[in-house]
């Protein structure tokens, strides 16, 4: 390999110029790899002078400048992509938390209203706010799921499919319900909304199973499974309990657990946003 540094002014000047050119890279990249790159460039200079004489330095500079230009552009583009992706993932984390908080009161209220109250009696404050929040919360969940997908690349398109199709069903179902006074139409689109919510949670649940196996999260990989357990909870409540009160208690307890899991999942996602996994 290469041996001792030469006391050659061309090498000294070249290294100083190269170190100055390193300022063109994004600051973070420069901080992480700048000194190593300068070291490698110095090694290249020493070898070139030893093998090709000073004339070889011209070729080295030509190759180095081309490489520098190419990689500076590439690193700046990568930085932009990373920043946009980081911001989106962080937003996804916050929206998962927001969706959990917005969904819980209305979800519990809607369960109770099925047996005790008509949902359309919620026409006064604060019930209208709660109803508004519960109907739109799944849209926040859909965007949060896209953030999860952007950060943890597992499960193929399951999160994308759930977020897009489920999100669209929720938006259509909610808009038509709120804009259509006709009861039968409104009821039909309540079913559309419910289908969208069901799809969102099923896809999150499938992602949860994969997360449990592949462990992409930095910790608590069971959270997506718990957070996406709504459809199973309904089923479970029907199987394990016989009385109405017990069934309601199981569902409400389940909703609370899932809300906590969703908040923790959102917290982990937004905290993990800047540690992107890049494709090589």
């Amino acid at each position: 390999m290469i041996s001792k540094p030469l006391n050659n002014p061309i090498i000294t000047v070249s290294i100083k110029v190269y170190q100055a050119l390193l300022l063109a890279y994004p600051t973070k990249f420069q901080q992480e790899y700048g000194s190593q790159m300068a070291q490698v460039f110095q090694d290249c200079c020493l070898r070139t002078v030893r093998q090709g004489g000073t004339n070889g330095m011209l070729k080295l500079w030509a190759v180095t400048l081309f490489d520098l230009l190419q990689s500076v552009i590439s690193e700046h583009m990568q930085k932009e992509t990373d920043m946009n992706k980081d911001d989106f993932v962080r937003l996804g984390g916050w929206l998962l938390m927001a969706s959990a908080v917005a969904f819980l009161p209305g979800a519990i209220g809607m369960i109770l209203s099925e047996t005790r109250y008509a949902i359309r009696s919620w026409d006064s404050f604060p019930f209208n706010v709660v109803a508004f929040a519960v109907f739109w919360a799944p849209v926040l969940l859909a965007v949060g799921m896209l953030g999860l997908r952007a950060r943890y690349k597992i499960g193929g398109g399951v999160l994308l499919f759930g977020a897009v199709v489920g999100g669209l069903l929720v938006i259509v179902g909610t808009l038509v319900q709120f804009l259509t006074p006709h009861y039968s139409v409104s009821e039909t689109y309540y079913g559309v909304w419910l289908g969208g919510v069901f799809l969102l949670y099923v896809c999150l649940f499938i992602f949860g199973i994969l997360a449990l196996i592949q462990k992409p999260l930095p910790r608590w990989n069971a959270l997506p499974l718990i957070a996406g357990g709504v459809p199973l909870l309904r089923l479970l409540a029907g199987i394990t309990t016989s009385s109405l009160e017990a069934s309601l208690l199981v569902i409400i307890a389940g909703y609370i657990i899932m809300t906590i899991a969703m908040i923790l999942l959102g917290y982990i996602l937004q905290a993990d946003a800047s540690q992107n996994t890049a494709s090589a």
Partner: protein, 124 residues
């Protein structure tokens, strides 16, 4: 974060720089300049990487968990007393390299079947 079960196919096809860096690290850990020398030697100087391409690729490969930094130490074969960061393959990196090599081998096999290679022409 754990990537051990990540599918290597997600990374294929590899760029020449990434493939050659993985190949250079296949027989042991190396520092940046050592990788550069190995790649030049392996490719008969057909793949020339400057420090920018080298460390840009290393950065992305670290993020993708294809390689990892082992430690920083002085290279005893060089007179430079400064410490250097050494890199080595991860399990995912090794599996990815194997899959890419198999992919390339199947392409070469296809080229042989179609009598594209010079060696095949000599037999005709």
């Amino acid at each position: 974060m754990t990537h051990t079960l990540q599918n290597p196919e997600e990374f294929l096809p590899l760029t020449p720089a990434v493939f050659n860096i993985l190949l250079a690290l296949a027989d042991g850990e190396k520092h940046g300049y050592g990788i550069m020398l190995e790649v030049e030697a392996n490719t008969k100087e057909q793949v020339l990487m400057g420090p920018g391409t080298l460390y840009g690729s290393i950065k992305r490969m670290l993020q993708a968990d294809l390689i990892e930094e082992s430690d920083e130490r002085v290279d005893p074969e060089m007179d430079d007393p400064r410490r250097r960061a050494y890199y080595r393959l991860t399990d995912l990196g090794r599996r990815t390299l194997r899959m890419e090599a198999e992919r390339l081998a199947s392409q070469v096999k296809l080229a042989k079947i179609k009598k594209i290679l010079a060696t095949d022409f000599s037999r005709v």
